[in-house]
Amino acid sequence: MPENKSDVLQGTLDLMVLKTLESMGAMHGYGIARRIEQVSANGLSLNQGTIYPALLRLEQRGWVKAEWGISETGRRAKFYSLTRSGRKQIAQETENWERTAATMARFLAPSN
C-alpha cells in the first residue's frame, strides 16, 4: 500500500458517506465506496468493506434509509439514500468538521 495514503479519521467516514449520498442521490454500497475513492483521488487508505458498518450506523440513527433495487448492471443490490433528518445532519456534521479543521489549521499555521 502506498506510503502517502492517509487513514480515515474516526467519524469522517460517516460524513463522507452522507455527503456522497447528498450529491449523488440513492447509491449502492459499492458505488458509494468507489465514489469516495474517486473524490479522495485514491488518497485514502480505505477498505471498501468498512463502509458497510458505517452505513448500518447511519441507518440505525435514521439518517439514511436502504432498500433493495436493481443496479445499472442489472444486479440486485441494496440502495441507500438520505432521509430528511440525514440532510439536516449533514449541515451539523459539516459545521463540526469545519470547526475541527479550522482549529487544526490554527495549530498548523506557521507561527509568526
Binding site: 449502492h28 454500497g29 459499492y30 465506496a33 468507489r34 477498505n47 471498501q48 468493506g49 468498512t50 458497510y52 458498518p53 448500518l56 450506523r57 441507518e59 440505525q60 440513527r61 435514521g62 443496479s71 448492471t73 444486479r75 440486485r76 443490490a77 441494496k78 433528518s85
Partner: protein, 896 residues
C-alpha cells in the same frame, strides 16, 4: 433529533435485529456478494482476467469475515447474543447428558417442590391459622376455677367482665346449641352458636350481607334475631337476595334473619366451631343462664386494645375478677380469668413441633443441595479436559466461567419451573392427609414466599457448586489437564464426592429416625387401653320433636324409654344407651358432690368434683366396660326407686381409700339427694389416650338417666346424645337408625354420626400430623439420598471405566467388579449410618415432647432405619455396579 432519541432508536433497532438474525445475515451476505461481484465486473471491464479481477476486488474490500463480524457487533446487542449463545450451548450440553440432567433436575425439583408443599401446609395450619385482621390481638377467655384452669364463663360474670375491664377493645362469648329447623323442607338439626352481640366484631369479620347483632338484641325480651351461614342461605333459601328480614323457625320459634356469615369464616376453639346459625345468647331458654355459678360451657374471645400486652390484660382481669369474688363470694370464690392467645388456644403449644419441622425442612433442603453439588462436582471432573481444550483454544477464563454459570442457572431454573408440579400436587395431597380435627387457615394454598426462598437457596447452591470446579479447572495448566483429562477423578474430588454421599446418608438417617419414632409413638398410643372398646361403637345426636318441649317429666322419661326400645330393636344394633353427661374423649361433664359421711360444705368451692356419665342400663354393654364389683344401673333404677350410682377405681381410691365403696353414699350438690354407690367399674380414659393420667379431674361417676332431677330432665327435651354398639356394616346401621328415627317422628332428627374409633383418632390428630409430616420429609429425604447415591456411583463408574477395563484385562471377574462398586457404596452407607446414628441420638432429644412411651434413642427404631437405609443404598448402587460389570474390556481401553 436529540441525542437521547437517537440512542433509543439505535437500541430499538438492535433489539429488533436480535429477533431477525437469520434474515439480516442473509441480507448482508447478499449485499456483500453484490459488492464483490460489481467490483469484479468493473475490474474485468478494465481488462483483468476473471481470477485477477476477483482477487483485486476482494483485496480492495478488506477481510469479508472481519467486516461481517464488525457489522454484526454494530447491529445487535453483543452481550445478549453471547448469552443466547451460552444458553444454546448449555442446553445442548445438558441434553447430551440426559442421565445427569434428569437426575439433577429431579433432585432439585423434588427438594424445592416437596419442601414448599410441606411448609405451605405447616404455615397454614400451625403458624398462621387465624385469617382475621390483627389476629395477634385475639385471645381466648375462660373462667379459671379450682379444677378447671379453662372453665366455662358464667353469663353474669361475662357481663361484669365486659363492663369493668380496661384491656380489651371488645369481648364476646359463645356456646353451642343444636336447634331443630322446621318449615323449610325436612326438619333437620342445625348446629348453632349462642353468641353475645359483639362476637363477630371482636374477630373483625363482616357479614356477607346484612349486619351482626346490636347490643339491644342481646337484651332479654328482645325480638328473636338470627345470623345464618352462607351455606345455609344457599341450601335453604336458594341464595335469595331478599333473605334479610325473613323468618327462620328454630325449635318452633321464628327468628328474623339479620345477616349472612360468609362461608370463608372458619374458627375452632374450645367448643366453638363455625355453624349454620348464630343467635343472641339471651334467646337461650336455659334458666341457669343468669346464675353466676353455673357452668354452661360458655367460652369467650376478646381483642386486646392496641399496645396492651397479655401481661397487662392478665393483671387487669385479675383485679376485675378479685372484685367480683369479693362481691359474690358464694359463686366466685377462687375463680379468675384465663387469657390465652387465640392462636395458642387453637393449635396448642407448637414450638417443639415447629422446631422439629424446621429441622426437617432444613435437612431435606440440605440433601437436595448436596445431591446437586456432588453431581456437578462429579461431572466437572469429567469435563476437566473440555475446559482445558477451550482455554487452550483461546477462550478467556471469564468466558468459560460464564458458560458454566449459564449451565448451572439453566439447570436450576428448569428445576424451579418443574418444582411447581410437586409443590402444587404435594400441597393438595398434604391437605387431604391432614386430620380434619386440626385447625387450619381458611385457604391453604401454595406459599409463594416459601417457594421463592427454596428456589433461591437451590439456585445458589447449584451456581456455587457449578462454579467451584470451573474456577479450579480454569486455573489448571491446560496442557496438564489435557494430558490427564478423562483419566478418572483426582483424589480430592473422590473424597469430596464420598463425603457428600456420607452426609446425605447421615441426614436421611436422622429424618428417618424422627419419622420412625413418631410412628412408634403412635403405635404405642394406639395400644393404650382406653378402658372401653371403641370398635363398633357409634355415637350420634338424636333430637326430640319440638312438641315434647313443654311435656311433663313423666312424658319425657316415657319418650326416652320408648326411644331406647325402638333404637335397641333396630337391625344391627346390639346395645344402646343415652349419654347425657360426659362421653370419653368426646365431651366432658362434671358434677359437684359431697360425701354423706361429712357435713355439707359451706360453698360450691369446697365441694368435690367428678366426671359424670348419665347413662342407661346398657351403657356397659355398649362400651364393653367390665363390671368389677357390685352391679351396674338396671332398668329398675328409675324415678321411683332409691337413687344409685356406680363409680370407677379412681373415684373409689380417691374418696374411699382402703374401703369398699359399695354401700357408701354421696350427696349431689344440685339436689342435695343422697345416692348409694352400688357398683365399681375400671377407670375409663376420659381426656385422651396420652394425657388422661396427668389430669387432676379423673374420678368418674355413673348415674342413671331416669333418676335425674326434674330440672336436668326438662333440659333434655331438645334431644340427647346416644351411643350404640352395632354389628355388621356401619352404613347399614346408620341407614337403619335413620329409618327408625323417621318412624318415630318426622320432626325428629339424627345428626353427627361418629364412630368412637374416629373420636379417638381425632384425639391424637396433632400427633398424627407430626407423624405424617415427618414421614413425608423422611420419604422425600430417602428418595433424594437414593437418587444422590445412584448419581454419584454412576458418575464414578463411568469415570473409572478405563480402570475397570484394565482390571478386567488383568483377569478380574465380572463378580469382582460388581463387588468393587458395591463395596464402595456399602462403605459410604456404613459411614453415613454411623454418623447419622450419632447425630440422631443428639437431635431426636429435641422431639422428646412429641413422643409417647418411646425413648428418643429407641434402639429398635435406630436399627430399623439403618437397615432400610442400607438396603436403599445397596439398591441404588446395583445399577451402576451392573453397568461396571458389563464393561467391555477392549472398548474401555480403546476409549481413551
Amino acid at each position: 433529533m436529540t441525542t437521547a432519541m437517537t440512542w433509543i432508536r439505535v437500541l430499538l433497532g438492535r433489539c429488533v435485529a436480535l429477533l431477525r438474525i437469520k434474515k439480516l445475515d442473509a441480507d448482508l451476505d447478499e449485499e456483500l456478494r453484490a459488492h464483490i461481484d460489481m467490483a469484479t465486473e468493473e475490474n474485468r471491464r478494465r481488462g483483468m482476467n476473471e481470477q485477477e479481477a476477483r482477487t483485486t476486488a476482494l483485496r480492495a474490500f478488506g477481510g469479508v469475515t472481519q467486516i461481517k463480524e464488525r457489522y454484526r457487533t454494530e447491529r445487535g446487542l453483543p452481550w445478549i447474543s453471547t448469552t443466547m449463545q451460552d444458553i444454546r450451548f448449555s442446553a445442548r450440553i445438558l441434553v447430551r447428558n440426559p442421565g445427569f440432567t434428569s437426575i439433577a433436575i429431579l433432585t432439585l425439583a423434588l427438594g424445592i417442590g416437596g419442601n414448599t408443599a410441606i411448609f405451605s401446609v405447616v404455615n397454614g395450619v400451625l403458624l398462621n391459622p387465624l385469617p382475621f385482621p390483627h389476629s395477634e390481638q385475639l385471645v381466648a377467655l375462660h373462667e379459671s376455677k379450682p379444677n378447671f384452669p379453662r372453665g366455662s364463663i358464667s353469663y353474669p360474670n361475662f357481663l361484669d367482665w365486659q363492663r369493668e375491664n380496661h384491656s380489651f377493645s371488645s369481648i364476646a362469648i359463645a356456646r353451642g346449641y343444636p336447634f331443630i329447623l322446621t318449615g323449610r323442607g325436612d326438619a333437620e338439626q342445625v348446629n348453632s352458636e349462642f353468641i353475645s352481640a359483639d362476637f363477630f366484631s371482636v374477630l373483625g369479620l363482616y357479614p356477607l350481607m346484612g349486619r351482626t347483632f346490636t347490643p339491644a338484641e342481646e337484651q332479654s325480651g328482645a325480638a328473636p334475631a338470627a345470623l345464618i351461614s352462607e351455606g345455609l342461605w344457599r341450601r335453604k333459601f336458594n341464595g335469595a337476595a331478599n333473605v334479610l328480614g325473613q323468618a327462620i323457625t328454630l325449635d318452633g320459634r321464628n327468628y328474623a334473619i339479620v345477616g349472612v356469615i360468609p362461608a370463608r369464616f372458619h374458627l375452632r376453639f374450645s367448643n366453638f366451631s363455625e355453624q349454620d346459625v348464630y343467635v343472641p345468647i339471651r334467646q337461650w331458654g336455659n334458666s341457669s343462664l343468669m346464675r353466676r355459678s353455673a357452668g354452661l360451657a360458655i367460652h369467650g374471645i376478646a381483642r386486646l386494645k392496641p399496645g396492651v400486652t397479655l401481661q397487662q390484660a392478665k393483671a387487669d382481669m385479675d383485679e376485675v375478677t378479685r372484685n367480683l369474688a369479693a362481691a359474690y363470694p358464694d359463686a366466685n370464690q377462687g375463680t379468675g380469668a384465663s387469657i390465652v392467645p387465640l392462636k395458642e388456644q387453637m393449635v396448642g403449644d407448637v414450638r417443639p413441633f415447629l422446631l422439629v419441622l424446621l429441622g426437617a425442612v432444613g435437612f431435606v433442603l440440605l440433601i437436595a443441595c448436596v445431591n446437586v453439588a456432588s453431581l456437578l462436582l462429579a461431572r466437572s471432573a469429567a469435563r476437566g479436559r473440555e475446559f482445558a481444550v477451550r482455554i487452550a483454544l483461546g477462550a478467556s477464563r471469564t468466558r468459560v466461567i460464564r458458560q458454566l454459570l449459564t449451565e448451572s442457572l439453566l439447570l436450576g431454573l428448569t428445576a424451579s419451573a418443574i418444582s411447581l408440579f410437586p409443590a402444587v400436587w404435594g400441597t393438595h395431597a398434604a391437605l387431604k392427609l391432614l386430620p380434619a380435627a386440626l385447625p387450619r387457615a381458611e385457604e391453604i394454598g401454595l406459599d409463594f414466599r416459601v417457594l421463592a426462598f427454596t428456589m433461591a437457596v437451590t439456585l445458589l447452591t447449584s451456581t456455587l457448586f457449578g462454579l467451584a470446579p470451573a474456577l479450579r479447572s480454569s486455573q489448571a495448566n491446560p496442557q496438564l489437564a489435557i494430558k490427564e483429562g478423562g483419566r478418572g477423578l483426582s483424589g480430592t474430588r473422590h473424597r469430596a464426592l464420598d463425603t457428600f454421599v456420607v452426609v446425605e446418608m447421615a441426614v436421611a438417617l436422622v429424618l428417618l429416625t424422627g419419622a420412625g419414632l413418631m410412628i412408634r409413638s403412635l403405635v404405642e398410643l394406639w395400644s393404650v387401653d382406653p378402658g372401653f372398646n371403641p370398635h363398633n361403637v357409634l355415637t350420634f345426636g338424636m333430637s326430640s320433636p319440638p312438641s315434647i318441649g313443654d311435656a311433663s317429666s313423666d312424658k319425657i322419661r316415657a319418650t326416652f324409654r320408648a326411644l331406647d326400645d325402638r333404637l335397641a330393636s333396630t337391625p344391627g344394633v346390639t346395645a344402646v344407651s343415652p349419654v347425657w353427661g360426659a362421653l370419653p374423649m368426646a365431651g366432658d361433664d362434671e358434677r359437684l358432690f359431697w360425701l354423706d359421711s361429712q357435713p355439707k360444705p359451706a360453698s360450691d368451692h369446697d365441694m368435690n368434683w367428678a366426671l359424670d356419665y348419665i347413662v342407661g342400663p346398657d351403657y356397659l354393654r355398649v362400651m364393653q366396660i367390665p363390671l368389677k364389683r357390685g352391679r351396674f344401673i338396671t332398668r329398675q333404677d328409675d324415678e321411683r326407686s332409691p337413687l344409685v350410682a356406680v363409680v370407677d377405681d379412681v373415684f373409689a381410691h380417691k374418696y374411699f381409700p382402703g374401703q369398699d365403696p359399695i354401700g357408701k353414699r354421696i350427696r349431689m350438690s344440685d339436689s342435695g339427694n343422697a345416692i348409694e354407690i352400688v357398683g365399681l367399674v375400671p377407670h375409663v380414659k376420659q381426656w385422651s389416650l396420652d394425657l388422661d393420667d396427668t389430669q387432676s379431674l379423673r374420678a368418674e361417676l355413673y348415674l342413671p338417666c331416669m333418676q335425674m332431677p326434674e330440672n336436668l330432665l326438662s333440659g333434655m327435651h331438645t334431644g340427647s346424645e346416644m351411643v350404640v354398639r352395632y354389628e355388621g356394616s356401619l352404613d347399614a346401621v346408620s341407614d337403619a337408625l335413620r329409618s327408625t328415627s323417621r318412624q318415630i317422628s318426622a320432626e325428629q332428627v339424627i345428626c353427627g354420626y361418629q364412630t368412637m374409633d374416629s373420636v379417638i383418632s381425632d384425639s391424637i390428630a396433632s400427633r398424627r400430623l407430626a407423624m405424617i409430616l415427618l414421614g413425608a420429609f423422611a420419604v422425600l429425604a430417602l428418595v433424594l439420598a437414593c437418587i444422590g447415591i445412584y448419581g454419584v456411583m454412576a458418575c464414578v463408574v463411568s469415570q473409572r471405566t478405563q480402570e475397570i477395563g484394565i482390571r478386567m484385562a488383568l483377569g478380574a471377574q465380572r463378580k469382582d467388579v460388581l463387588l468393587l462398586v458395591l463395596r464402595h457404596g456399602a462403605r459410604l452407607a456404613f459411614l453415613g449410618i454411623v454418623f447419622g446414628t450419632a447425630s440422631a441420638v443428639v437431635l431426636t432429644r429435641l422431639m422428646a415432647s412429641l413422643l409417647f412411651r418411646v425413648s428418643p434413642t429407641d434402639p429398635a427404631v435406630l436399627a430399623g432405619v439403618s437397615v432400610i437405609l442400607s438396603l436403599v443404598a445397596i439398591a441404588a448402587c446395583m445399577q451402576p455396579a451392573r453397568r461396571a460389570a458389563s464393561i467391555d474390556t477392549m472398548q474401555a481401553l480403546r476409549s481413551e
